[in-house]
């Protein structure tokens, strides 16, 4: 009796502890952002912001060109994700459904491409873009971000495509659809969760990228949010309030996207993860 109570209890207790561990840093970020400076720099932490202030958010958004950064970040990220999805969809369909010479090579090739340590190739990329006179533009940035997420997108989508029962596609073709139509009407809708979950990964990667934009775009008009976020640490020393407010603003789109897409993505996970 005692044992079974313990047996029922420990998973829940562990879960609560884990939950706190997971959430606390996120909570602390938001809490710090809303606290007045006196409560942030205090000998005993103020666990709950009672005296809420928006001052730090004002500092963060009052930075010059804040909205330019937002627009640039959204443009670059969304375009990179969309292009990589389109390109990857075609490629992953071939890899999942077709038999052809060199298929293995392609799969392994994309796996190797996925390993590319971009940070260490920055100067090579910089010199290419510089010599092509394309600095301070969003175009190379979008292209490189697209490439950073492309291999992962292809490989993951391949799993999702493979998980769509072949019979469905064939049935559609029996009904007189061409292969392309069958793809559009049958496979694509079934791939929706897969597309969403892969795009989340792509979105995060592109949204976060810092070293490349730092060296490519010196013109403030072509810069993105990560540069804005890191600027707070140097401008204000450790103005934790403003830094945390900026971090919060930076994280919110991703957090919303995740929570919103999470359920649909997880329902697709099963298929994608295991049947690959």
């Amino acid at each position: 009796m005692k044992r079974s109570l313990f047996g029922r209890l420990w998973p829940n207790v562990t879960a609560v502890v884990l939950f706190i561990g997971c959430v606390f840093p996120v909570y602390w970020m938001f809490a710090t952002a809303f606290k007045p400076t006196g409560d942030i720099i205090s000998e005993d932490p103020v666990w709950f912001p009672t005296d809420v202030t928006l001052e730090h958010f004002r500092t963060a958004t009052d930075a010059d060109h804040f909205w330019t950064f937002v627009t640039n970040s959204l443009t670059v990220t969304v375009l990179a994700v969309v292009f990589s999805l389109i390109i990857a969809l075609a490629g992953s369909f071939a890899l999942a459904r077709m038999r052809f010479k060199g298929r293995r090579g392609f799969v392994v090739g994309f796996m190797v491409a996925q390993m590319a340590p971009w940070e260490v190739m920055i100067i090579a990329m910089y010199m290419i873009v510089r010599d092509a006179s394309m600095l301070n533009s969003l175009v190379p940035l979008t292209a490189f971000y697209m490439m950073m997420i492309l291999p992962f997108t292809i490989l993951t989508l391949r799993g999702f495509v493979a998980a769509v029962p072949r019979e469905l596609e064939e049935a559609a073709m029996v009904d007189g659809c061409t292969r392309v139509q069958a793809f559009r009407r049958v496979i694509l809708p079934l791939l929706a969760p897969g597309l969403m979950s892969t795009s989340m990964f792509g979105f995060i990667t592109a949204w976060n990228e810092l070293p490349l934009v730092l060296v490519l775009n010196k013109d403030i008009e072509a810069q993105t949010l990560p540069l804005w976020l890191t600027s707070f640490q140097s401008v204000f020393g450790n103005d934790w309030g403003a830094t945390m407010a900026a971090s919060s603003l930076f994280a919110i789109p991703i957090l919303i996207l995740f929570v919103f897409l999470q359920r649909r993505a997880v329902s697709g996970l099963t298929a994608g993860a295991v049947k690959g």
Binding site: V108, Q114, A116, I123, I128, T198, A273, K275
Partner: protein, 328 residues
């Protein structure tokens, strides 16, 4: 987000219709020939992008690694070939090998922690009641979704020497020497913070995916194991583990790549310090190349870094090559 895995040996297998997909369309011969090209056409954009946007920088990087490229050469666009001097200097120095060893240990420690803890949390998710499970999932998703730049900033704040909440808690728990402890003052404490950050960020991916994978294990397998008199541990090792093996391989592969390349976390937390003692390979390449403005040298280290990463993952890539052979 999911893991792409290779076909599990005992998992559900697609029914492959005889004839294969390419003969599926009832078109004339011309269409069939076109069909033979179709996969290549479909892959063309992806390959073109890879060659242009990855292959070219890679080639450029290799070329730079044979050059003497410092401030003056960069500013004046001068190309000065210096053969294998950069490689000679890197490979004969102690630093490179020390950093390589450190990188491998760092990656191994983190990946083991992530995989073990992630798997345990995933299995825990499967055991929990619905409400608790959803709660924990939300927590995991929040940690997972934190953009790395923001997360790193938050961790600096949590572990700040003065007014950092971690030091306060340790002090209150009775460990008073930690009251004003500087986490960035030593190699091990810096690695500790970086590891906590990376593990925190990475566990959700493993746990949630693993949980999703366990839900697809057919119940009959457990029933059969129970009939054979298997206990909880045995049914875990004979049913769950084999079923999840391909998934675990694939996840480990991804985690190795991600941890090995954890540039932002290591660089932001302490810039590879103190005393260059926490530089891992990508950070080392960056500091030597961009930081000290020896771009040719940095390029050589970058090339070596890529080779080492390839070597680390060669085992998995070979498995993939083999499996792909059997497929379709």
């Amino acid at each position: 987000m999911t893991v792409q895995t290779e076909r599990p040996p005992s998992g559900p297998v697609d029914v492959v219709k005889p004839g294969g997909p390419d003969s599926g369309g009832p078109g004339p011969r011309a269409a069939a020939r076109l069909g033979a090209f179709a996969p290549y056409l479909l892959l063309l954009p992806a390959c073109a992008a890879t060659v242009l946007l990855l292959g070219w920088p890679l080639l450029k990087d290799v070329l730079l690694s044979f050059q003497n490229l410092n401030m003056a050469q960069l500013i004046q666009h001068v190309t000065e070939w210096n053969g294998v001097d950069n490689y000679k200097e890197v490979l004969t120095g102690e630093d490179f090998w020390r950093v390589t060893l450190r990188s491998i240990l760092f990656t191994a420690a983190n990946v083991v922690l992530i995989m073990v803890l992630g798997t345990l949390v995933g299995l825990l998710l499967a055991r929990l009641g619905r409400r608790m499970r959803v709660t924990l999932m939300i927590g995991l998703v929040l940690a997972w979704a934190m953009p790395v730049v923001a997360a790193t900033t938050v961790y600096q704040w949590l572990f700040a020497q003065r007014f950092g909440v971690v030091n306060w808690v340790l002090d209150k728990l009775g460990w008073h020497s930690m009251a004003d402890y500087s986490w960035t003052s030593s190699q091990m404490s810096t690695f500790f913070v970086v590891t906590v950050l990376i593990v925190w960020m990475s566990i959700p991916f493993v746990a949630i995916n693993l949980y999703a994978a366990t839900t697809t294990i057919p119940g009959e397998l457990y029933e059969a194991a129970a009939l054979d008199g298997a206990g909880a541990w045995r049914s875990f090792t004979t049913v769950t583990l084999p079923f999840l093996r391909p998934f675990l391989y694939a996840t480990t592969f991804l985690e190795i790549i991600w941890v090995f390349k954890a540039f932002v976390q290591v660089f932001t937390i302490n810039g590879g310090g103190p005393d260059r003692l926490t530089e891992i390979l990508p950070v080392y390449a960056y500091i030597e190349g961009v930081g000290n403005q020896h771009y040719g040298m940095g390029a050589a280290i970058a090339v070596l870094t890529i080779l080492i990463l390839l070597a680390l993952t060669a085992y998995y890539l070979r498995i993939v090559l083999k499996q792909e052979e059997d497929e379709l």
